[in-house]
Symmetry: C2
Subunit: 437 residues, 2 copies
């Protein structure tokens, strides 16, 4: 809901940026109190006010957005004409798709990616391409964190998270191969939803590691992410208002020592809030087969990236960043035997995780190591995300808490594979518990 | 091995077309008895002699092939400069990739597909793009069966099978989503090898159904396919000369009534030959969960195709064939719930198949319903292939038998998931048993 005037800004941060609440805005449009054209103008105004600071976009065309918003019949469709940002590794036939790399500067795909078509069919307007790290790896985008411009927005879906956090757009599409949806959502203080593996098709998404690459969504709050996911996929992922209080497993993982004190405090605060609100909480140790998932993820990602980016490596190495180049050079040493062993380990870990979490609706754990790192040299660590991407589990970053410097600290809820609706209900429960704590 | 002079041709069939044996030719090159340039000239001569009749290619550039064959150092690489055909739904940056559809006429991808890069790295030369049915569905390519031009070569990898069968190329890359490697190999009388799901990456292959699309290879004999697969993937898939006689399960499936009497005769002949050669044979009934795989395949393929081809449906419907258009129109009715149920059924079927075939090296079954159908209106039925694609099992078409009209009839060996090497060894055993019967 846009209930504040155009946000004031300082050179340091986008203060009072009013998040655009997708579910509410769609309701307003359906009720005739708002038109897609009005909403597009609000988005354009916010983008024009803040884009110079935030740099959320790789491609943006205000006139094209206006033209699309005037198309008849949008209000009757599920997304009701809401503008949607699309990460720039996702193909669009009518907007350049530069993939955050000079190799693809100005590249114009022949087709829209499937998720882009699904969004358009649902009545969403593709508002622009959001900035990505280089080929969705680690070389940062130009994007800055709207909560504090001197800090990283996270990566790789930097522009998608920042556009929603800056109130520029109600919905943005991103992808996660390690931690590229949940981490930027946590750093920017918005909802990030990484669905179960392949729930949203990856056709037309530049591959990095095909067993891991997952399309996800950014929105203001959990209800908005659930609304957007339902509208785009045609699945019933709407919040279950009748859901009973969730059973939540609190999981610190073997990597808990990499969480900052502030992240630990936030996780404990979230757990307390959930418990006070009636959730049945239990601290859970993950089985060893699951805890080794980080190493397994590293092997699978490297082997697949060395293959997926074979053309870039062979023909365009001089235009890759030193960071990506070094990664791919190393990645070529992963043997097929090591890869096969890792895939078997991942399968065993998925079974072990399913067994260990059978009695829970969600796992509550860290979303990131702490507040967004200062500076723009690094997009932060995906250490608390890799395992869940490997597991194919649905994940939600729940916003609402903040750290000692005032930047957001997210907490992560992880659901059971294919049980996205239950996860989203649990996430909405936790979000409310945090607000009301 | 090219041990015959340039093939004579008639308007009816390519008689005496000498298949090019990849493993032997690579050995000749490595021994210095043949150069990649010489081999390229032989291929060009055969292509120029027969392409007007066979129409195996969507794009072919003799000068480019000559230029590549002159590059230094090829002989030291695993593929030793062998020319390789690439199905035209697979991206190549230096050759148009028209995907068998007017929608993509002249389309030039930005990157090589991963399998193209893997082939080049291994010292293979991309000889041209081989004809595909429309977007790898059922609308036939212009390709004709080199064994008898009035008959279908099968589909969708029509050009890849025909190019190898016509002695134009020693190796060709294809893909299978239902039966598009094994069936054309069976009709054209060459070896077709569909590896375990995702053994060869699909990055850069136009998706049709992402849970099913599998990259495969065509070559003269099993040893040539094993050689090519080893060279391209860097995996040890070479024939195990020390392998003991395989344990083979003879499986007719619940669809056996769709096999022609000739196909049944061929299957029984193959089983007898294998038994005489020392294979331990046992007739096996598949569990019900496995036998329902065809219905499961249909649901998964339709749901995914409706999504994968969303852009073609939304923006280019007028340029799709009536057949594909009607299929996609129907496919849109598959609900996410039906799709999810089918995916669960597929998972159960994979477990049931693994249990049922635990004591065997391979399943011996039909490769196709019979000889290649006359005429070019249909590419034939994938009824004996869908299940195995859904299972992700490695499959080989073993050539060597023929039907009452003299056209080839293949038989299919199906291995256990990930046990491609054992399957290829069993296939070589069966091939020898058929030759020596």
């Amino acid at each position: 809901m846009m209930d504040a005037p155009a946000a004031a800004r300082t050179p340091l941060e986008i203060r009072e940026a009013p998040l655009l609440h997708a579910a509410t805005l769609a309701g307003e449009i359906r009720a005739g109190r708002l038109t897609p054209a009005d909403l597009a103008e609000r988005c354009i105004a916010t983008i024009e006010a803040h884009e110079a600071d935030v740099a959320a976009f790789a491609a943006f065309d205000a006139e094209a957005l206006r033209a699309q918003a005037r198309l008849p019949g949008l209000a009757e469709l599920p997304l009701a004409g809401l503008p949607v940002g699309v990460k720039d590794i996702i193909d669009t036939a009518d907007l350049p798709t530069g993939r955050g790399s000079p190799v693809f500067a100005g590249h114009r795909p022949a087709s829209d990616a499937t998720v882009v078509r699904m969004t358009r069919r649902a009545g969403g307007i593709i508002a622009g391409k959001t900035a990505t790290t280089e080929l969705a790896f680690m070389q940062p985008a130009a994007t800055r964190n709207p909560r504090r411009l001197a800090h990283s927005p996270g990566g790789s879906s930097a522009g998608s998270a920042a556009a929603v956090a800056a109130g520029m757009l109600p919905i943005a599409v991103g992808t996660q191969t390690a931690g590229s949806v949940i981490r930027p959502a946590a750093y920017c203080g918005v909802t990030g939803y990484k669905p179960s593996f392949k729930l949203i098709p990856t056709v037309g998404v530049k591959p990095f590691a095909w067993s891991l690459d997952t399309v996800g969504l950014f929105a203001a709050r959990v209800a908005d992410a659930a609304f957007a996911a339902s509208a785009i996929t045609g699945r019933d992922l709407q919040l279950d208002e009748a859901a009973s209080a969730p059973r939540i497993a609190l999981v610190f993982t073997a990597r808990a020592d990499q969480a900052s004190p502030a992240a630990r405090l936030a996780l404990e605060e979230a757990a307390s809030a959930a418990a006070r609100a009636g959730a049945r909480m239990k601290t859970l140790m993950l089985p060893d087969e699951v805890e080794t998932g980080d190493d397994t993820h590293a092997v699978i990602q490297a082997f697949e990236a060395a293959h997926a980016l074979a053309d870039e490596w062979d023909r365009h190495r001089d235009r890759l960043s030193p960071q990506l180049s070094a990664y791919l050079d190393d990645a070529r040493n992963v043997t097929p035997d090591a890869y096969d062993a890792a895939r078997r380990a991942a399968r065993r870990a998925r079974h072990a995780l399913a067994d260990a979490t059978r009695d829970f609706d969600a796992v509550l754990t860290f979303a990131a190591t702490g507040e967004a790192p200062e500076g723009h040299a690094s997009t932060g660590s995906p250490v608390f995300n890799r395992l869940w991407t490997l597991m194919g589990s649905p994940c939600v970053n729940v916003a609402g808490l903040s750290g000692p410097t005032g930047l957001p600290i997210g907490v992560q809820l992880v659901g059971r594979f294919g049980r996205d609706r239950a996860l989203l209900a649990a996430a909405a429960f936790l979000e409310r518990a945090i607000v009301e704590r």
